[in-house]
């Protein structure tokens, strides 16, 4: 049990990026789920919480269901990959990975002192953009964070999110994407 009182948005961004990794036993276990469910409880998303219905001890089958859903949603699938988690797929001139908008995203990173850890990585992946937001929040660059969210992240994420909400077979991915939506929305 923790005694945390205030929640850091930077950590939430990182947590959400983490939640979108390929599900494996090494991290997708009791501790992670406990935290994830606590988020849902605190958000008051009872229906999403109930839909998860994970047993106390996750079986290989439980993990495999998530892996299959992750693969079909985000990697490769028959009939086809449904929601590649990369910005340029959804933006103008899109339908492609590492399109022109991805280059702009990388330029944005660089203009603010960041870059990809690996040259072969794709700048506008969902996890990279969430991690970047976490860094901005840690640095107190809230205006830059807002600009990035408005101009780079939300324009594609909303399209992505709609597809995942419609196509995911597992409640987990619907809930994660809903959570990302919630935490990347501008405060009123």
């Amino acid at each position: 049990m923790t005694t945390t009182s205030a929640i850091s948005l930077a950590e939430v961004y990182r947590f959400l990026a983490h939640a979108m990794q390929y599900p494996e036993r090494s991290w997708f276990g009791e501790d992670f789920l406990s935290l994830f469910c606590t988020f849902l409880d605190e958000l008051g998303w009872d229906a999403d919480r109930a839909a998860l219905a994970f047993p106390k001890q996750l079986s290989s089958k439980d993990i495999e269901l998530l892996q299959v859903d992750y693969t079909r949603l985000f990697i490769n699938s028959v009939p086809h990959v449904l929601a590649p988690p990369y910005g340029s797929f959804y933006l103008a001139g899109g339908g492609i990975l590492y399109g022109a908008s991805a280059e702009k995203t990388r330029n944005f990173y660089r203009e603010h002192g960041f870059d990809l850890a690996l040259a072969s990585d794709i700048p506008d992946s969902l996890t990279n953009e969430l991690q970047f937001l976490s860094f901005l929040r840690e640095l107190g660059e809230e205006n830059v964070e807002l600009e990035f969210t408005r101009t780079h992240f939300r324009p594609w994420f909303c399209k992505f999110s709609t597809i995942v909400q419609r196509e995911a077979n597992t409640p987990y991915y619907k809930a994660v994407v809903k959570m990302i939506d919630f935490f990347t929305m501008e405060d009123e």
């Binding site: 923790t2 929640i7 339908g95 990388r106 990809l116």
Partner: protein
């Protein structure tokens, strides 16, 4: 929490105390994809590079440069240093950018937890994927013998794994490039000239060119097209033999609208005419050929009238062709063709190509058949040779087969277990669903396997049948092929330019794509062959291959990707008519005792093909200028240009059937097999009444190819009648016939 909860409110008021672990701890070990880095000055062009490489959108291997900005490939161009294709690349070459970043590409190792044909994919680690592949391939070999593996490779990256599997004890390798494409050509020329001809005819300096079924212009290989166009610009006469008014036919001086399947008779009549009328190159035949008398006797029946009747041509036109060739000999290009697996009588046709070249003396002269060599020696790196028991050879009666084993024999062993069972299958860069005729039998054979492993770049149709599917880096993300060629020769000069250009990565591979050396070595270790690994990495292999030329990857990078050096022109000294060849006799074998001893015709012989049944037309197929078979079908730019394959139908026939250009039809073949999809009709006077035509490679069935799926008609699906060339065991694929279905109504094709 209230329903009107905002982010801010949540962060201020929520508590995660109920969780079993603090938020910070969950993400503590995660490696971020974005990190702090120094800020590069804007406008400095930091990271903008020109990366030299070699294209593989088709297999001509043009030299290219990739313009890479900040790690992202933004454009592909011809390498300005190239002495081969120069600055030019074709539409496909340009469109490589789209292949690289295609969202449908394979990204991680996948395991099929569904069934073959209806896969349910699960991403797995390389460790798990390789362990499973090795375990199951070894199990097949242990239970059924080392020969129980069938290998279907294709492309430059498949050579290293193919050699590995051969080393483990299986000869059951079927390369589409040999058994469904050019193998018959190579073996026909090897049996005549002692070497495989490639497409090495000196069209740029020809006085006349003969293309038999070759449709240059639709089949785009940049330096080849340039050579052809240069020849035409220099005034070369062009003869095109084709049942269809192809792009090449549109430029021809003589278009020979031949009946499909009769080309050998056509060439035999020309050769007989040249011989009878003393219009052949006597000095060359005496100096360089063997068996002329028996050859002359063997084709003596092939009169112009005989051929005209068989080929459905006018006597005068065949004579006109013969006279034109004789008048321009020896400077004539008798094009050997490329895809020649047509009718199951193709070895004899290729022998006719070669013999016609020989009696015209069209060898090692301007315009003729040549053997260009850069003179640059490269090292060889590969697996040790395997031991193969003759008892398990599937050669059968096909004594003149190209390298590998006849596909149909492999398929029979997969399907029926005869003469022994083949129980596991590896497809590496080949899509047997669209390369091998008899598609339903191929699918049944795949379903009978204990294990199917597929390595590919795209989710082509074959990937639907994989148990384990491994993602390979594309040609833009890896090393491999070293182009070694000759350019820049001119008649009257002894000199030329030799060049080599290695394929080098333009960008690093994304996701978990791996190269063929890494994948194969990892498999080898797990299968117990770790001690035989010839090279640890692709860069190491490249350096070993380049070393004999005094070169290395680093040197090639420094010199812009292409090394050139002076070389010899591919011509014999003027007037030389006596040449030595690597055949049994040391001469060009117009009459082949080797063939005779094996029970095959010793001189080019016409073997009739099945006639077109009433109500049907013969289905012939060819290349689209913007596609390379099925490989490029999912490319958005290329798909935009030619999204489907129109069905060419003779205009008069079409009108009688009530069709007009733009109508949509399905095809139904002689066995009642209907195309899954439809395509658009193109009525044209430019095709024979007994023939219909479409471009090959369309009609992808795998829905994971989101651009290509169901676009146009898959011609291979309609090739259910399987014919095999007796000498080589390669397929003939133009002995199938179709009629049409429009709005559910069957339309017979008028005879």
């Amino acid at each position: 929490m209230a329903l009107t909860l905002t982010r801010r409110k949540f962060l201020q008021t929520a508590s995660l105390a109920a969780a079993s672990i603090p938020l910070s701890k969950v993400t503590a070990g995660a490696q971020p994809g974005v990190v702090k880095k120094s800020y590069p000055a804007p406008g400095s062009f930091t990271g903008t590079e020109s990366k030299p490489s070699v294209c593989e959108m088709c297999f001509w291997r043009c030299q290219i440069v990739g313009k890479v900005r900040d790690g992202r490939l933004v454009k592909l161009e011809g390498n300005p240093k190239s002495v081969d294709n120069g600055k030019s690349i074709c539409a496909r070459g340009n469109a490589g950018v789209q292949l690289l970043y295609d969202p449908d590409r394979l990204k991680y190792p996948l395991k099929n937890i569904g069934e073959r044909g209806k896969p349910v994919w699960k991403r797995i680690s390389w460790e798990e994927a390789l362990d499973e592949c090795a375990t199951r391939l070894k199990a097949a070999q242990k239970n059924h013998g080392p020969h129980s593996l069938a290998i279907f490779p294709h492309g430059a990256s498949a050579k290293y794994p193919m050699q590995f599997f051969e080393m483990t004890g299986t000869e059951n390798v079927s390369e589409a490039s040999f058994f469904q494409c050019r193998g018959i050509r190579d073996m026909g020329y090897v049996s005549t000239f002692g070497f495989a001809p490639g497409e090495n005819v000196d069209m740029a300096h020809a006085k006349a060119m003969l293309l038999i079924g070759t449709h240059i212009g639709e089949n785009i290989h940049v330096s080849h097209v340039k050579s052809y166009l240069k020849g035409l610009a220099n005034g070369a006469k062009l003869i095109v033999v084709d049942p269809r008014f192809s792009a090449a036919a549109s430029k021809a001086d003589i278009w020979v609208k031949i009946k499909p399947g009769t080309d050998t008779a056509f060439m035999m009549a020309i050769m007989n005419y040249l011989v009878v009328n003393n219009k052949y190159d006597k000095a060359f035949v005496e100096g360089s050929c063997e068996g002329f008398d028996a050859f002359r006797e063997g084709i003596a029946h092939a009169t112009l009238e005989w051929a005209a009747k068989i080929c459905d041509l006018a006597v005068a036109q065949i004579k006109e062709v013969a006279e034109l060739l004789a008048a321009n000999a020896p400077n004539v290009s008798i094009h050997p063709g490329r895809h020649v697996s047509w009718h199951g009588n193709d070895f004899q046709r290729m022998r006719a190509h070669a013999c016609l070249t020989a009696i015209l003396g069209a060898y090692a002269v301007p315009g003729g058949l040549i053997k260009p060599s850069s003179g640059i020696k490269l090292g060889k790196v590969g697996w040790p040779k395997g031991e193969h028991d003759e008892e398990f050879s599937l050669t059968g009666s096909h004594k003149f087969k190209p390298p590998g084993m006849p596909t149909e024999n492999i398929k029979k062993a997969m399907l029926e277990g005869k003469p022994y069972p083949i129980k596991a299958c590896v497809c590496w860069g080949q899509n047997p669903i669209q390369t091998i005729p008899g598609q339903q039998a191929t699918i049944q054979a795949l379903k009978k396997m204990d294990f199917v492993m597929v390595v590919d770049v795209m989710p082509t149709d074959i990937t639907m049948y994989a148990d384990i599917l491994l993602p390979e880096g594309s040609y833009l993300e890896r090393y491999d092929y070293i182009k070694n060629g000759l350019a820049g020769w001119q008649p009257g000069s002894d000199t030329a330019v030799g060049y080599i250009a290695p394929r080098m990565p333009v960008v690093e591979p994304m996701f978990e794509r791996r190269d063929q050396v890494w994948i194969t070595n990892q498999l080898a270790i797990r299968m117990g062959y770790g001690d035989k690994i010839p090279v640890q990495s692709l860069p190491e292999m490249m350096d070993q291959m380049l070393a004999p030329a005094g070169l290395s990857i680093a040197k090639m990078q420094a010199m812009g990707g292409i090394h050139t050096q002076p070389a010899k022109a591919p011509y014999a000294p003027a007037g030389i008519k006596e040449h030595a060849f690597k055949t049994d006799s040391g001469k060009i074998e117009l009459y082949s005792e080797v063939l005779s001893d094996a029970g095959f015709p010793a001189v080019p012989t016409f073997l009739p093909v099945e006639e077109v049944p009433e109500g049907f037309a013969r289905l012939v197929y060819g290349r689209s200028p913007v596609h390379t078979f099925n490989r490029s079908q999912n490319n958005r730019w290329l798909h935009h240009e030619i999204p489907e394959n129109p069905l060419w139908i003779n205009e008069e026939c079409g009108k009688k059937m009530g069709l007009k250009t733009g109508d949509r039809v399905h095809c139904e073949n002689q066995d009642g097999i209907r195309s899954r999809t439809d395509t658009v009709v193109m009525l044209t006077p430019g095709i024979r009444r007994d023939t219909v035509y479409m471009a090959h490679g369309y009609g992808t069935m795998n829905t994971a190819m989101t651009v290509a799926k169901d676009q146009g008609v898959d011609d291979t699906s309609l090739i259910s009648k399987v014919v095999v060339d007796p000498e080589t065991g390669a397929h003939g694929m133009r002995n199938n016939f179709v009629r049409l279905i429009k709005n559910g109504k069957t339309l017979n094709i008028p005879s």
